[in-house]
């Protein structure tokens, strides 16, 4: 039973409780959370590599990536630092499509990024239209501080799973905790179950 904070009433926004997970509040701007400097990788030096436990590793240059079939996704996003942003619009390539190109039977993957960031995901969290590599936000090239040139987009999990500056996905047989997962954050990160920290 939580103690009452005397005199606290809150400033509640009229929000659809079906869209805002517990402990979250809605923002209109787009806060930036990253653990280090923002990498600025030129697109002519950029590539996306899918490797590890796959049938055949594949790599795409920026131009090749832009030529892949892309989808427009409108979705809500939820950061573990409590903010949620509703109705964000992205464009990117579905992981379903990318995985078809390599073939894998592994159950886990690690997304890795410029700036040495990593995050781990289960295969079932990135298939069936639940994950993309996104390069446009609101129809514009994704800003570097928000993960451009391209970031992972896995909006049904806390947003640290949507790795900024993603450069590769490595499939693994075992689940290997990534940067924040090894630092006390939850391994799965479902906002609707409020899986913020490892013991949640």
């Amino acid at each position: 039973m939580s103690p009452i904070s005397r005199g606290f009433r809150g400033r509640r926004r009229p929000v659809d409780p079906g869209r805002v997970p517990p402990g979250q509040y809605v923002v209109d701007d787009f806060p930036v959370l990253s653990a280090g400097p923002t990498p600025h990788t030129p697109t002519d030096e950029w590539s996306l590599t899918i490797a590890g436990a796959v049938g055949e590793a594949r790599s795409w240059t920026w131009d090749e990536f832009l030529a892949l079939p892309a989808e427009t996704v409108t979705t809500d996003i939820h950061c573990v630092t409590k903010w949620s942003k509703l109705g964000t619009t992205w464009r990117g390539v579905s992981l379903d499509f990318l995985l078809e190109q390599v073939g894998t039977t592994a159950d886990y993957l690690t997304a890795w990024s410029d700036g040495d960031y990593t995050t781990n995901l289960a295969l079932e969290d990135v298939t069936d239209g639940r994950a993309w590599v996104a390069h446009l936000f609101d129809g514009e090239p994704l800003e570097p501080e928000h993960g451009g040139p391209a970031r992972l987009l896995v909006p049904h999990l806390y947003f640290w799973k949507s790795a900024k500056w993603v450069r590769g996905i490595t499939f693994t047989e075992e689940d290997e905790p990534g940067f924040w997962e090894a630092a006390g954050y939850h391994n799965h990160g479902d906002p609707w179950k409020e899986q913020r920290f490892w013991n949640d």
Binding site: F8, R9, R11, V27, D29, P31, G36, E145, G184
Partner: protein, 255 residues
């Protein structure tokens, strides 16, 4: 795994559970910011630079959560937060407004295993704080002082005006000790006879402050997003290793 790393791991892996904190005292830091000292039974201890989550509960059960950096050193038996009141801040307007000694709310932590420093990590140190981004850096400076460390430490403090700088007197006292060089920049208004900088932080300012990249300082940058982006980009441009630069950003909607 080496001893310090193992200890860190154990510290991080302690269960993060909600505890009731009681406000012991409140002191004005600036016109818009207050330092709130908390009594927290069974606080598991923290590392300088870590933060905690605050959860407020209204009478009808409505709850709101936000994160705040811990301002106190691990050696201090009490936890202190310095909270700046934001116009739209649902939680900050209460913490830096109606809150009184004796009031209770919930906290859990410590949180964060990356933006941390302890004396055992060594130096030199380069700390850059914009506005309330000074708070986790102050925990590091207080820890350094509590351990009587003289490790080479350079501190850059950026604020709009002098009376918006947190912990002014304490920073002056700390700077009188060995090994700490503090540089201030006031971007909007400077007092008469001001000898510090009076422009937005830039590469020249950071180069003059040091330490040089060849000395491989551990760098901690905290503040609004634009401040952190500017400082981190400038430091990378000066030749500091990106991996040595620890950043913590907060936007206008810190809450």
């Amino acid at each position: 795994m080496e001893g310090a790393a193992l200890l860190e791991r154990l510290r991080i892996r302690r269960a993060i559970t909600w505890r009731t904190a009681t406000v012991a005292s409140i002191a004005d830091e600036t016109a818009r910011a207050r330092t709130i000292v908390l009594d927290v039974p069974d606080w598991p201890g923290h590392v300088a630079g870590q933060h905690l989550d605050v959860r407020l509960t209204a009478e009808d059960g409505y709850q709101a959560q936000r994160s705040y950096s811990i301002a106190t050193a691990p050696e201090d038996p009490r936890i202190a937060l310095t909270v700046e009141r934001l116009e739209d801040g649902e939680v900050s307007s209460y913490l830096a407004g109606d809150l009184r000694p004796g009031d209770e709310f919930e906290i859990r932590g410590p949180i964060g295993g990356h933006f941390t420093w302890s004396v055992e990590d060594g130096g030199p140190l380069l700390l850059a704080g914009g506005g309330s981004g000074l708070v986790p850096l102050m925990a590091m400076l207080r820890h350094r002082a509590a351990r009587e460390s003289t490790v080479d430490t350079r501190l850059l403090v950026s604020a709009g005006r002098w009376d918006e700088v947190f912990y002014r007197d304490e920073l002056s006292a700390l700077a009188a000790g060995d090994g700490l060089v503090t540089r201030y920049t006031l971007t909007r208004e400077q007092p008469q006879g001001w000898t510090g900088d009076s422009r937005r932080v830039d590469a020249d300012m950071l180069a003059a402050l040091g330490p040089a990249p060849r000395d491989a300082p551990r760098v901690f940058v905290c503040g609004p997003t634009a401040f952190v982006e500017t400082v981190a980009d400038a430091l990378v441009g000066l030749g500091h290793a990106p991996g040595a630069i620890h950043a913590e950003r907060f936007g206008p909607t810190g809450g």
